[in-house]
Symmetry: C2
Subunit: 347 residues, 2 copies
C-alpha cells in the first residue's frame, strides 16, 4: 500500500515537471554544510558497512539530550521505527489508536503488524487527547500514536497536554510520540526528554529541520528495556553509513539548525500573510509547513490541482474535516517569492 | 538478535584497532568512480526524499537483464528483502528450510516472521540440493533459502542443479535464491534471468562486487505478482536517495565491475597459494572470499583470534562441520601483500 504518491510518479501521471517542491516538508535549506561534507566523504568509502550499532551517533545524541546511549536506537527514519514499534508492541488482533487524518504511515505499519486500528477525531484541527485516551481505554489499546507537532495540521500540544494523555492511557499502553517536527516547536513547549519512562517512545528524525530526508535516518528515545527489544528485531546492518556520517556532523552544527528554524518561523508568518491577502485563513503551525484553509474540499482540491498543473508540488489531507486544507512547505525566501507569485493565479 | 558482531564492536571488546578489514566481504576495490561521484552529488541534495519507486534504477536493471521493470523491487539490501520475503510468504507456524551454517540472516528474518526454521546439512562443503528438497517436501515448506554462490563456503551450484532443486520443491514452495555474490560467478554458470517463474525469487545487491555495502541497496527479481505484493509491505520511502544514485551510476560502469571481478579472481588464486604454502587447503570459491581449511575448530579459532589480535578483521563459521574454516575476503594486491606477511606469524 502506498501512503503517499511520490512527486516523481505524480509528474509522470500528470505530464508536468515540478519546479517547486513544497509538498513533502523537505527542507529546502538543505543539510548542514558540515553534513554534506561528511556524507560526501563517507560516500567514497561506502564499500565499508556502516556501524550497525551507530555507536558514535547514539552517544552524540545521548550527550545532546542528557540521557544514556542505551536509551537511543537509530533506524532508517521514523517510518521504519513505526513499523518496528508496531511489530514489537502489538500482536495480531490487538488494538492501536490514532487520529483521523493524521500522518498515515502509522496506520500502514499497524495494519502490517495485524493490528486493529481505531481512530479518534480531531478537535479544533488538532489531535484530541481526551478522545484518544477514551478510545484507548475503551479498546484496551497497546499503542496510541500522536504526531506532535502534528502533520498535516501543524498543531502543537504542550508538555502538559501530552502528560495528560500519557496518564490517561491504560497502564500497559505505550504512547508513540512522533516528533518529526520537534525542532520547529518553540523551545520549552515539548515534554522534557528522559529515558526513564517505559510508557513513551519518542521518534525523531534528521529528515526535516536537519534537511536529510533522502538520507534516511531517524531515532527513537525510549526506556532501555524497549531499546533492547528493538535491537532484537531491527535490521542489524540496515542504517546506511553515509546517513550516519551526515547525522553525526549535523549535530555539531547548531548554527545551521538555528538558521533553518528561524527562517522557517519567518516563512510561516509570511505564508500566512500571503494567504490572508488572498482571503484565506491558515492554521497555527509549529512545523515547517502551513495548512491553508479553503473552507471546502472542492475549493481545496481545485487549488491543489491548479498548483500541480503549474509545476508546484503540494499535498492536501483527504479525510474530512481536514480535506478543506492544502499544506504548503516553508521554503527559503526565494521559494516563497515564487509561491507568492503563482498562488493568486490559481484561485 | 545479532547475526554478526560488527568490526567496530569487536575493536572495542578486544581493545584492538583493525588495520585490515577482510571479514565482511566488503569490496576493498571500492565503488565505481562514477558511483562515488553520483553519491557525492546526491548527498548535497539529500534534503529531497528519494524516489520511492526507484523508477530509473528499476528500468536500468530491467534493461540490463532483458526483463521488465515490473519484475524488479529495490530495497535497502538483501537483508531487508529476506525480511520482506519471509513476511510475505510465511505465516506464523509455517515452515522454511535452509542449510546448517549458511548465511544466518535468513534465519533471523524467518524467526521474526514466526516461521519454523528447518535445516538441511551441507554435502562436500556445499549446500545439498537433494537434502534441501527432501526437507522441504517433508515439512511442506513455504520457502527454501539457498545462497548461490554460497556464503561462507564460496561454493557454486550450476544452473542445472538449481533447476533440479526448484523442480523438486512442493508446488507452493518458493525458492529464495540469495545471489549476493553472483557477479563473481563464472559467466554462464548461474540460471538464466527471467521474470516469468513465480517459484523463484532472486536477490541481488550492490554491496559486494559493486562495492556499496555501506550505502544499503539491493533488489529482487521476481514474477510481477510477487513484486506487487512486496510493494504493499515494503517501506515506501525506505531506500535512500544517495544509494539509488550510486547504484544507477554503477550500472553504467562495467569497466570497474570487470576490473573488480578479474582482480578478485586473481586474488583467490593467490590466497590459495598463500594457504597451501603454509600447509592448509582452501575451498573452491566463486565469490570475493576464500575459506581456509584448518582441519579442526580449535585450530581455526586459534588462527582467527591471533589474526584479530594482530589487527586483521576476519570471521569464521561456527556451525560444524564448517567451524574448521576461516573466511578471508579478497582485497586488492596491497591488502593481500599485508595478509601474506601476517598470516604465517599467527600459525
Amino acid at each position: 500500500m502506498v501512503p503517499f504518491e511520490a512527486p516523481e510518479a505524480l509528474e509522470k501521471r500528470l505530464g508536468v515537471r515540478f519546479h517547486l517542491r513544497l509538498g513533502a516538508n523537505e527542507s529546502l535549506f538543505g543539510p548542514s554544510p558540515a553534513a554534506i561534507e561528511a556524507m560526501r566523504e563517507r560516500a567514497a568509502t561506502s564499500f565499508h558497512y556502516g556501524d550497525p550499532q551507530s555507536y558514535e551517533l547514539r552517544h552524540a545524541l545521548a550527550e545532546r539530550f542528557g540521557i544514556r546511549a542505551d536509551n537511543v536506537c537509530v533506524a532508517s527514519g521514523i517510518d521504519e521505527l513505526l513499523s518496528l514499534a508496531t511489530r514489537l508492541f502489538v500482536a495480531p488482533g490487538e488494538f492501536v489508536v490514532t487520529s483521523v487524518g493524521t500522518y498515515p504511515t502509522f496506520d500502514f505499519a499497524a495494519l502490517g503488524a495485524g493490528a486493529d486500528v481505531r481512530k479518534a477525531p480531531y478537535r479544533n484541527d488538532a489531535p484530541d487527547v481526551e478522545a484518544l485516551a477514551e478510545e484507548a481505554r475503551h479498546c484496551k489499546a497497546r499503542l496510541v500514536y500522536l504526531a506532535n507537532p502534528d502533520n498535516p495540521t501543524g498543531a502543537l500540544l504542550g508538555a502538559l497536554e501530552v502528560a495528560r494523555l500519557r496518564e490517561a492511557l491504560p497502564h500497559d499502553c505505550v504512547l508513540l510520540l512522533d516528533e518529526a517536527y520537534s525542532d520547529f516547536a518553540p523551545v520549552g513547549t515539548l515534554p522534557k526528554i528522559s529515558g526513564g519512562d517505559p510508557g513513551v517512545l519518542r521518534l525523531r528524525t534528521f529528515s526535516k529541520a536537519y534537511g536529510m530526508a533522502g538520507a534516511r535516518i531517524g531515532y527513537v528515545i525510549a526506556h532501555d528495556s524497549h531499546i533492547r527489544e528493538l535491537d532484537k528485531i531491527r535490521l542489524h546492518f540496515g542504517v546506511n553509513a553515509v546517513a550516519q556520517a551526515g547525522a553525526l556532523a549535523s549535530l555539531s552544527d547548531d548554527r545551521h539548525l538555528n538558521h533553518v528554524v528561524a527562517e522557517t518561523s519567518k516563512g510561516r508568518r509570511r505564508l500566512r500573510e500571503v494567504a490572508l491577502t488572498c482571503g484565506f485563513e491558515t492554521l497555527p503551525s509549529a512545523t515547517n509547513f502551513v495548512a491553508i484553509d479553503f473552507g471546502t474540499r472542492e475549493k481545496a482540491e481545485a487549488v491543489l490541482n491548479s498548483l500541480l498543473q503549474k509545476g508546484v508540488f503540494v499535498r492536501k489531507p483527504s479525510a474530512p474535516p481536514l480535506d478543506r486544507l492544502v499544506r504548503i512547505t516553508i521554503g527559503r525566501s526565494e521559494d516563497l517569492d515564487l509561491f507568492e507569485e503563482i498562488f493568486p493565479t490559481v484561485l
